[in-house]
Amino acid sequence: MEALNIVHGMSTVLSDPVTLVFIFLGVFAGVFVGALPGLTATTGCALLLPFTFGHEPLQGILMLVGVFCGGIYGGSLSAILLRTPGTPAAAATMIDGFPMSERGEAGRAIGLATVASFFGGTVGALIMTLLAPKLAIIGLAFGPPEFFSLTLFGLAMIVAVSSDSLLLGVLAASIGMWITTIGFDPIAGSSRYTFGVRNLLGGLELIPILVGLFGVTQVFLRAEKLLVFPKAAKGETFIPKWTDIVMTRWTALKSSIIGVFVGSVPGAGCDIAAFAAYSELKRSEGPNSDLGSGNPKGVVAPEAANNAATSGALIPMLSLGVPGDAVTAVLLGALTIHGFEPGPVFFTSNLDLIYAIFAGVILAQLALLMIGLSLTGVFARLIRIDQRVMIPAILFLCMMGSYSVRYSIFDMFVALLFGCVGYLFEKTRIPLSPLLLGVVLGTLSEQNLRRSLIISNGDLLIFLQRPISLLLIVGASAAVSIMLLRTKSAK
């Protein structure tokens, strides 16, 4: 039945060549925006949103879906080439992608990332097509305790994978969560840690923090020693070798499945999906794996997962009206502007449109594969640009990217501040990824912790009395325990 629905959705999309052009343009714009440090898929969707108003809703929505898919993939290009992920979802790709780039395998890493993204996105769209109605029901079962436990789970995963020291990982994550408490209290509405500064009332924007931690920090680190890429992909083929694809096939499949399920949980998004897949890879590879030093599987796992999560993230948005992350929040706004009200009713009354969107996601992956493989040479050439020009240009883009969020010089100060923080943390070996995830998940975590405590009259046992919440807490504890055991055995 669902197979027929996707065929019907595909015929709807293919019947209008203009829709295909919109998908292609969306993916192209997404890859371009995602590859530029400081600009994300969210920025791309927000910039292109007004452009979709005068067109058919399906065309406009699929264009933005194309930007979403392309932007998530594009973020990995800057992560691999410049160690500056355009989005949090690409931060996990950076762990192994950048070391591959450093040893002259940028083309191989990008080729694998492209194929993995295509594979993950396609598998994600197919799984969604088959399981969408059922997953929407599971999503409905999530209450505040489950959401809080989910954020704990996500943080435990990132702490477990990103640092040799559990303490430093927890330290970074807790600082990240504290940062999100600056500004208005999400429940009571009172201001916290604002000290009378008007710009702090709305809290700190995520993009300047992200740009500062991963872009400006990188500029400062390279100011000490400019990196040299001696074997900069010249004459290298960017189409991945068949042996690489075969070697990583199970990693791609497993990560796609993880990605689509994590992505389908409201609030989880592509970043947690990527880190969850990377964490699972690290667990399955064992303590002696070379993950973190340029293992191709370390590129494939997060890329397959975060692109599969793009399909998954559409489910809570369409079925519950709950955006999975910032990009889906913009897509939600686009649907509303086009006259739709996402939610359970939308999911049942606009089935044709829903399946056309899923068919569009599959076609967007195809466009991504074509653009990725044909333009890999252009992106790989980025690393051949003189670093004495490239690094100041990145700093400039970081500052302007931060300014463009709210057209505020204050956000440029925030990016600079977090660049300094990131530099000092790098020097003292405090990992940055848990800090970032703490910032991403902090507000969601606080809201759901407090809602849970209100429901239970302050009884913390509520998190252990609900099966999904208990399962997530057990998973988080297991990840931390495994990390501790590994550290102990390594000593």
Partner: protein
């Protein structure tokens, strides 16, 4: 002899930096923990709960990490980490960027941005006059056009505002 002195100095620089960063984090998180008292309403789900939880964990983990590093240092069983290169360039780049941001509303983007880019390119070792001029003016101009024509929110023009 001199190489060993430089190595030792570098090592101590990293140790000192670790000590300063972790100490600052302890002080900052303890202060934030103390300030968060005022955000509560007496209930277990008040506005103080989450900040105090986050700051408390940060304070404890920073303190243990600091103690660990000091222990390693005092035992002399090895340096706290690998040797790091010491350079003032990041500090100079950060200072010039800070200066750019402070002066931006006063002098204005059209004059200041190319100058700042020029200075940054120079700091990173670029000496070719053509590249210095084209990159600093070109990038600044593209960003100005994008922000003013597409987003209708150009950065402040400062001194030349009346001429635009």
């Amino acid at each position: 002899m001199s190489r060993s002195i430089i190595k030792n100095w570098s090592t101590h620089w990293v140790d000192l930096l670790s000590f300063l960063v972790l100490s600052s984090l302890i002080v900052a998180s303890a202060t934030a923990f103390y300030l968060a008292r005022d955000y509560g309403d007496g209930s277990p789900s008040g506005g103080n709960v989450f900040p105090q939880l986050a700051c408390g964990i940060a304070c404890i983990t920073a303190a243990i990490s600091l103690a660990n590093r000091l222990w390693v240092l005092f035992r002399r069983s090895g340096v706290a980490g690998k040797l790091e290169s010491v350079s003032w360039t990041p500090l100079i780049v950060a200072s010039s960027t800070l200066g750019f941001l402070i002066l931006l509303p006063i002098i204005g983007y059209p004059i200041l941005a190319p100058l700042w880019m020029l200075a940054t390119l120079w700091l990173f070792g670029m000496r070719s006059p053509w590249i210095l001029a084209s990159v600093s003016i070109g990038l600044s101009a593209i960003a100005w056009i994008l922000l003013s024509r597409l987003a209708f929110a150009p950065p402040p023009a400062g001194l030349i505002e009346q001429f635009l």
